[in-house]
Amino acid sequence: MSDVSFEARVRAVGLRVAADELPKLQAIVADLDRAAQTVRGQRSYAEEPLSAFRLKPVT
């Protein structure tokens, strides 16, 4: 991810970060991105998430 894209991304989500804070934030986000990538893994598109929508029957 380029520096320009990272700045754009930060602006896009409405965060206002001081210029000298940006490198530190970018490093943290890079770690988070790597963690997210690990979580993704190879899965079947049919695999269900753990959280389920629940509807209680009429009482």
């Binding site: 320009v4 754009a8 959280s51 389920a52 929508f53 629940r54």
Partner: protein, 58 residues
């Protein structure tokens, strides 16, 4: 979001869109944002989601 920021978000998502595709999507992006805003009303901090984690995994 500016068009440049919008493009940056799509690029980061790993989608390979042409400029024409990005331009069209950016033109309807405000409609999606209006929906997002409607789905973000004032809610108490403790408001629960409609999906539930259940420790008893099936």
């Amino acid at each position: 979001m500016t068009k440049e920021e919008f493009g940056a978000v799509l690029d980061r998502a790993g989608l390979k869109l042409s400029d024409a595709q990005k331009t069209e999507l950016f033109s309807v992006y405000p409609l999606l944002q209006a929906m997002v805003a409607r789905a973000h009303p004032e809610m108490p901090r403790e408001a629960e989601m409609s999906i539930m984690f259940n420790a008893e995994v099936k």
